[in-house]
Amino acid sequence: MAYKYHVTEGENVAPLIAPGHDYATITDKISGDVLDRKTPRGMMITLAVSFLFVLVLIGAVSYLFYKGVGIWGINIPVGWGFAIVNLVWWIGIGHAGTLISAILLLLHQHWRNAINRFAEAMTLFAVACAGLFPILHLGRPWLAYWLTPYPNTMEVWPNFRSPLVWDVFAISTYLLVSFMFWFVGLIPDLASMRDRARKRWQKICYGVLAMGWRGSARHWHRYETSYLLLAGLATPLVVSVHSVVSFDFAVGIIPGWHATIFPPYFVAGAIYSGFAMVITLMIPVRKLYHLEDFVTDRHLDFMAKVMLGTGLIVLYGYLSELFFAYYSGSEYEGFMMHNRITGPYGWSYALLILCNGLIPQALWSKRVRLNTLALFLISIVVNVGMWLERFVIVVTSLHRDFLPSSWDMYTPTIWDWATYVGSLGVFVWLMFIFVRVMPMISIFEIKHLLPWKGRIYDTSADAN
């Protein structure tokens, strides 16, 4: 059906794409950054440094396989430690990509077109980093396939009531759907790259990946349909994956874990940290590649608002934990909260409230949201805060449970830290390689944001 739609650029609203661009300049700029431009020096340095950390990870994991999980700081009662903290943190980071690609598409938030490709790639690499940790934590990682239910001569099945098994399904589905979504979205752009590539090996590589895309009307029709279907499939995953991750804790009956608010609170936290990571990475990459025309301050403003909103839900979670520790009237719940705030790990709780609860409130101010440096710093603070949140949940609840005789302290070792910073290295390294070889902004989707493009025919309006 036809109706009016005006993209107004007026008064005080900035456009979503800088003036002076048309179809050709967009394609030239985004594909040219990959095909023609010399790798920026900042890029080379980042790749080199992050690769050093990849080597650190390889070293740490090799030693782990040689010695076993005893090299980590885990003990009884804190049997999970960094491995689960990092798993949850990385999975959470991935959520921004799915939210941006799928949910914002269904909600007709067209500004997403500038950042969806980048955020989806981030999802994939974050989930890959996340998947590493539970496997490493198994002790016998070569038996990881035992987690999947399959008929076998030993008649051994995983415990279907265990959320750890739900995790296997949730995370592997997530990885698969995210990958398909990302790849399907890339196909039209891969064809553009193939057509514009000058070197033969480039033509072959992009050509194979483009899967014979010719841009015919029929191709586009099928493409739009499948993209929307995938968006529909990915949408429940934004909620389900982190809900299942939260069940890892909530299904346990330890004070501080057995809380019914965990699923929505974890999902909000995931989106919060995910948007923080998109902002942390996007701001330097935008600068390195001079993408200010496409990823405008207005985009950053939108992302900052999402971060503020989800951050407030997370803060609601903290407040409700505090309130119900009192309201429960249970001495164990009360002690858990008391120990969390004043116990040996009290510093982590104080830092958590500072990083996740207090500092991000600066985002209420538009001035702060539009100040790139301030936003960059706040996003890093939130990343740290969300890591601390998982640390607080895991360690403070486990290290002192019902029986004082089973209390113990948890101290991460150098190998815990090496594995963690190593995974950061892998993430940044993969991200920068992606930026180097693929169009990091969706060339054909961002064209919808051109001001004179007028009303986009919005297929998503009809499909869901």
Binding site: T8, N12, V251, A259, S328, W364, A461
Partner: protein
């Protein structure tokens, strides 16, 4: 359309008046059952009112086309908050019949209740409720006043003011509404607690209000000016929203159930045991089917969302199911041995509902049915301008 509002108002006045009279008489007949039925009759309408306020705040924050056509309804609905505050007085009077923690002997006998006696205290409880209503009424009044001032078309800054006001108000609203759910509903079984409860209460309230507004919108969609601007796109957006909140409600309810069921701790599993005992398990299954599966599968299809006439039926079902849900949440606190629906359980919601709908229609008839001079929306009722 004014005649339509007037007609419904008159009819509701009669129902409400008769209901209130019956309620007053029955106080002397079924005295011991009066307050619990009153509380049950009161809560769904209170949630509807709060849901209207939440929708209004949300609309000012995100300014969607769906909110534009609902704005006057959510303003009229939240305007009833002041009256809802007055209607809360009988609950306060009947506190001793309703809330076990008001009995000192009960508190002394229980360690857990003793621990939280500072919060579950009669005077503090009353003070909190007064504070909630004062805050909510202030929010609703200010937003309504600015919005009708905007209708004059003289002050262009009001849209922005309402947007800025709604951010912090939303934060306050979520905190106060969560606490209100603990006070009014959760503390009926004072030993029990669940941290997700406040969120479920808010989502349930929004769902109630959304279903109600969609029903009203569908009824008036044939009249001008609605008939001029309402398109299937509006219906589609509203249908999607109803769909989303239905799923959200189910998601929260399921999360709570799964965590308590799998933990199986005596401290909290009794709440579900009471609600899945003989008779109540039928109600629980009815909720599962009527409150989730039926609306979910119907709303999954695009066709059912594009027509307000079809949405009317689903919204009606959800609206009725909201009452069943609240009954299932509240009533087993008093009697979980069997489901025995007392005549008062029907009279009370009808009486309060009559008053509510009469006020709603009266308020709605007093204002232009669509906000005028809202710079965010064009004459076709669709979003055309962003404001910063």
């Amino acid at each position: 359309m004014q005649e339509y509002f007037k007609k419904i108002e008159n009819r509701s006045v009669k129902i409400g008046g008769a209901g209130l009279a019956a309620l007053a008489v029955s106080y002397f007949v079924w005295g011991e059952h009066f307050y619990r039925s009153y509380l049950f009759g009161y809560l769904p309408w209170a949630m509807l009112t709060l849901g209207c306020l939440a929708i209004l705040l949300l609309h000012h924050l995100v300014s969607g086309a769906w909110g534009h056509v609902l704005q006057r309804m959510s303003e009229s609905g939240s305007r009833i908050l002041a009256v809802m505050g007055l209607l809360f007085i009988p609950v306060l009077i009947g506190m001793r019949d309703l809330y076990p923690w008001t009995d000192d002997a009960v508190v002394e006998a229980s360690h857990v209740l003793h621990e939280k006696a500072g919060y579950l205290d009669a005077v503090f409880f009353i003070a909190r409720s007064v504070l909630y209503f004062a805050l909510w009424t202030a929010m609703a009044t200010l937003l309504r006043r600015w919005s009708s001032k905007q209708d004059d078309g003289t002050d262009r800054s009001l849209t922005r003011r309402m947007k800025i006001f709604s951010g912090p108000s939303m934060v306050l609203f979520v905190i106060t509404a969560s606490l209100a759910s603990v006070d009014w509903m959760m503390s009926l079984e004072p030993e029990w607690y669940s941290t997700i409860y406040g969120m479920s209460f808010i989502v349930g309230s929004v769902l109630t209000a959304l279903a109600f507004c969609i029903m009203v919108l569908s009824k008036v969609s044939g009249h001008r000016p609605y008939s001029d601007i309402l398109t299937s796109r509006h219906a589609h957006h509203l249908g999607n929203l109803l769909f989303a909140f239905t799923i959200l409600w189910a998601y929260l309810a399921f999360s709570q159930y799964l965590i308590i069921w799998s933990g199986n701790l005596p401290e909290d599993n009794f709440w579900y045991l009471r609600r899945t005992g003989p008779g109540w398990n039928v109600v629980a299954v009815l909720l599962l089917i009527g409150h989730f599966f039926v609306p979910f599968f119907i709303l999954l299809s695009r066709r059912s969302k594009k027509e307000l006439k079809k949405l009317y039926v689903i919204a009606g079902l959800i609206f009725v199911m909201r009452f069943v849900d609240i009954y299932w949440l509240v009533a087993p606190a008093f009697d979980h041995e069997s489901v025995s629906i007392h005549p008062l359980d029907v009279i009370a919601p009808v009486a309060i509902g009559g008053v509510w709908v009469a006020l709603f229609m009266r308020y709605l008839g007093q204002v232009p049915i669509l906000p005028l001079h809202d710079p965010r929306f064009g004459e076709d009722g669709f979003h055309i301008h962003d404001i910063d």
